[in-house]
Amino acid sequence: MTRILPKNKLDDCIAAWQKAGYSVLAPVQRHDMSSFDEVQKASDMALDLILTERTIKDHFFPQTEPLIKYKISKHDIDSETMTPPDKKRIFFGVRPCDASGLAIDDPLFGWDYKDDYWFRRRNNSVIVTIACAEADDFCMCTSVKLSPDSTKGADVMLRPLASGNGWQIEAVSERGTALLDTVSPLLQESSDQAAPVPQVAEKFDVEKVMEWLADPANFESQFWKDISMRCIGCGSCTFLCPTCHCFDIQDEGDTYQGIRRKNWDSCSFALFTMHTSGHNPRNAQSTRWRQRIMHKFNYYQGKFGVNSCSGCGRCTRQCPVDMGITETLQAITNLPR
């Protein structure tokens, strides 16, 4: 017997959580795009999506975030540090890869200097992961040693029932336990079996890849140029990546006032590393793509003991020129040793 959340109790569940002061965010399909957004009822949710086009990263590390509001006057500058709203949030229906992404980024944002913006949001949020019932050609969680039912990054884990009537529900963190307490009357004990976890084929051998990347001799390999030749240098793979975290800080305003903002930036962009002198350490698209792969599968690992990829496959799924991590790592795997 396991605890289940029946589908028909989901509305009550949302209501209970809202009553407890939470906003509930879930996958929604709005204006021709799927993302996480606030919902009021179960029917607002698009839980059947394999994966939302946008990641939940958006809600922890938003594409643009006000940091400081300033007012310029003649002899003084008034500045006011802005903070994210102190709002409790539940992310319902997060896929394991997205949830893992948050866990992957935690050490980076907490490394020595704590990024308050990230952690305030992290602390306010409860992640309710739903294990995948389906996968598509681009999913590659298993290749990065995760799985369609990984609990990494989750507070509460849901597994869809084979009957389709609900989910097995399980708290996997203290925060999760506390959350379930708020809705315990709505949960039932049941012997319903969970639906089988989809088979996601391993597309590359991450160990082999890491080994190849770690060899300094390969840094200047022709491989990088060949593999990235068709890269057009947009930032869509980085911006839709659940773990990419690069950003820029910009002031925006008029003569009298403005806001200093933290905006997404991308290592794909030529300007990312361009010095004002005009010197650019990474002046070719191949060097930028190399940086992205190296950062994810070598540097990050070395620093934080984890690869900066959760296998969601978005990079390939939406790439305008059908590139992506999978292709590159597959190619590395298949390189003659």
Partner: protein, 149 residues
């Protein structure tokens, strides 16, 4: 909209015709609404669509772009180039829902002080009827809060 709404109108004008026309309105002591702020450019050819967007961002309720009549451009053809740009830009704004009535274009020569005064009065009146351009101004306000869900 309230009676006391005083629209903000930003005018981008060429120095040889419309600016001089506005000077003539001044020397002729013609009275017109005080809602307009004039930005002087050498020629309508210098007036970039970006100016209009920034004026809107700064809270303009209407924007006026004005220069020499066709054939009269001090720079021979700046206004012809400008006219093409405006045609295209105007269509673009209209298609994205920025009302055409808020972006006005005119030819005012150095001799048309009265036309300038009338034009400003007319735009002021029309804009009062349209009310503040809240749609666009909201976008500016939202900047502070967006992303903070």
């Amino acid at each position: 909209m309230s009676e006391s709404f005083e629209p903000k109108i930003v005018a981008f004008v060429c120095t040889y015709c419309t600016y001089a026309g506005a000077d003539l309105a001044g020397t002729s002591r013609l009275k017109y609404a005080p809602n307009v702020r004039i930005v002087r450019l050498p020629c309508t050819g210098r007036i970039s669509p970006m100016f209009i967007l920034k004026a809107l961002q700064k809270g303009a309720d209407s924007v006026l772009v004005s220069g020499c009549h066709p054939g009269d451009c001090h720079f021979a053809a700046g206004n012809y180039h400008a006219r093409r740009r405006w045609t295209v830009f105007r269509a673009l704004l209209a298609f994205t829902g920025i009302p055409e009535e808020r972006i006005r274009f005119s030819w005012v020569s150095a001799a048309e002080g009265a036309k300038f005064a009338d034009l400003i009065n007319e735009i002021t009146e029309d804009t009062k009827k349209l009310g503040p351009f809240t749609q666009y101004q909201e976008l500016q306000k939202v900047i502070e809060t967006q992303s903070s869900y």
